[in-house]
């Protein structure tokens, strides 16, 4: 779950974002606390706090005094928009780079994608 290379607090923030994007933590419900994240991912609480603060700065989480962190209204749309914007960079470009290396044209890639979406007929 935890990999080298990306700062740990960024990975923690992404894990929380994942649970908002897939709907398992709904908007206006309580998000996991810093200490819960630290215990679950077995990381230093200061690192977990940094990840949570990053999400607060981004407007994904907000603090209700005396209760804890909550998922902001509109957080899911915000994250979906961000991920759709990043999609080409993160997934399509590496895909096309590998295609070029092995001699596949963009059209070939497109038909492979279509074939992948369609159910395989025996």
């Amino acid at each position: 779950m935890i990999e080298e290379g990306k700062p740990l607090f960024v990975q923690i923030a992404e894990q929380v974002e994942d649970s908002i994007v897939d709907g398992s933590v709904a908007e206006e419900t309580q998000a996991p606390s810093t200490n819960e994240l630290a215990a679950f991912y077995r990381i230093n609480p200061a690192t977990a706090a940094k990840g949570v603060n990053m999400l607060v700065d981004k407007g994904v989480l907000y603090k209700r005094r005396g209760i804890g962190m909550f998922v902001a209204a509109g957080a899911r749309d915000l994250l979906l928009k961000e991920r759709r914007n990043d999609f080409a960079l993160r997934y399509v470009q590496p895909l096309l780079a590998e295609a070029r290396r092995i001699g596949l044209e963009p059209d070939d890639v497109a038909s492979l994608i279509r074939a992948g979406v369609e159910p395989v007929t025996p």
Binding site: E4, P7, L8, A39, Y41, N44
Partner: protein, 306 residues
């Protein structure tokens, strides 16, 4: 910055070895440190001096702003879990825990009882007859339950199996989250503790060679793999700390950061970039010298000048 420990120009000389060589550092309040380095690098000597169990040859140590030596006010706020703690011959874990309870004002008996059960520690057996792992468990339990404002764990895991070590790490994190305090954790199992520690203090041959946040330390080095000539061209002028090669492929670790443009250029040259784990980084940084050798060399040189 809020420091609980301040060390300046600390030197410790044993007969023929310079164990600490003009060392200076601060320890921040409520932070978990990894205190890392090879055997003989000076970790235990430093911790012994900080807890007034040993005297420096020269230099200053301040703990909570005071000299810790024979200072009960300061010593009761610190707990030093030694790797080779000595107990009286007929002592049992029950005795050890009872005296710790008397000594540490913040002692939590409930936590101690929980941990005894979790580590399945036989309380009535004499400590002499405990296994190495059970002996380590005694130290770990005292270190956690003391809730001392500064706790030193000197290789607390010896003889503990993977399950018991995980219990220790988990309990340390949850108890630290509820009762923040300063912890110095000395360990050779760097991969195991790298996510627990907020700052890294690395000592090598009696000198501090790294004192920074774990996050910055992690981002410090990068590994580049690819055609030897291309790698060498790409890394010209960089501080290389390790080189390996297999046929025409080289794997080189260097210290320094790359910006996005540099990353793209390396990728375009067909080179693969890989992060370097904290353990790899510290191994690379401390393997360049044999521990103690520099101290001996310095000593010999000094002798010849006399």
């Amino acid at each position: 910055m809020d420091s609980v420990i301040e060390v300046r120009n600390l030197t410790k000389r044993y007969k023929d070895v310079l164990a600490l060589d003009d060392v200076g550092f601060d320890i921040q309040r409520d932070t978990i440190y990894g205190f890392l380095g090879r055997n003989g690098a000076g970790k235990t000597t430093a911790m012994s001096i900080l807890t007034a169990q040993n005297l420096p040859t020269s230099g200053q140590v301040r703990v909570f702003g005071e000299d810790p030596y024979e200072n009960a006010r300061v010593l009761s706020r610190m707990c030093f879990v030694r790797e080779s703690q000595k107990y009286p011959d007929d002592a049992t874990p029950r005795h050890a825990l009872a005296s710790a309870r008397l000594f540490f004002p913040q002692w939590d008996q409930e936590l101690a009882d929980d941990l005894v059960e979790e580590f399945q520690l036989p309380l009535k057996r004499t400590i002499k007859k405990l296994s190495r792992g059970q002996l380590s468990a005694v130290g770990v339990i005292i270190g956690l339950a003391s809730r001392a404002e500064i706790t030193f764990f000197d290789e607390p895991y010896l003889g503990l199996d993977a399950v018991a070590r995980q219990i220790f790490y988990d309990r340390l994190l949850t108890d630290y989250a509820e009762h923040p305090r300063t912890v110095l954790l000395s360990s050779h199992l760097i991969d195991e503790v790298s996510n627990l520690i907020e700052r890294v203090l690395v000592i090598d041959a009696g000198r501090i060679i790294m004192d920074e946040s774990t996050e910055d330390a992690r981002a410090q080095a990068t590994n580049v793999v690819g055609d030897t000539a291309a790698v060498e061209r790409a890394l010209r002028g960089r501080e290389v700390i390790h080189r390996e090669s297999l046929g025409r492929v080289a794997s080189v670790t260097f210290v320094g950061r790359l910006d996005a443009a540099e990353r793209d250029a390396l990728a375009a040259a067909g080179l693969d970039l890989a992060p370097v784990s904290l353990q790899q980084l510290i191994v690379r940084l401390t393997q360049q010298r044999t521990p103690g050798r520099d101290a001996f060399a310095a000593e010999a040189q000094e002798g010849s000048l006399r």
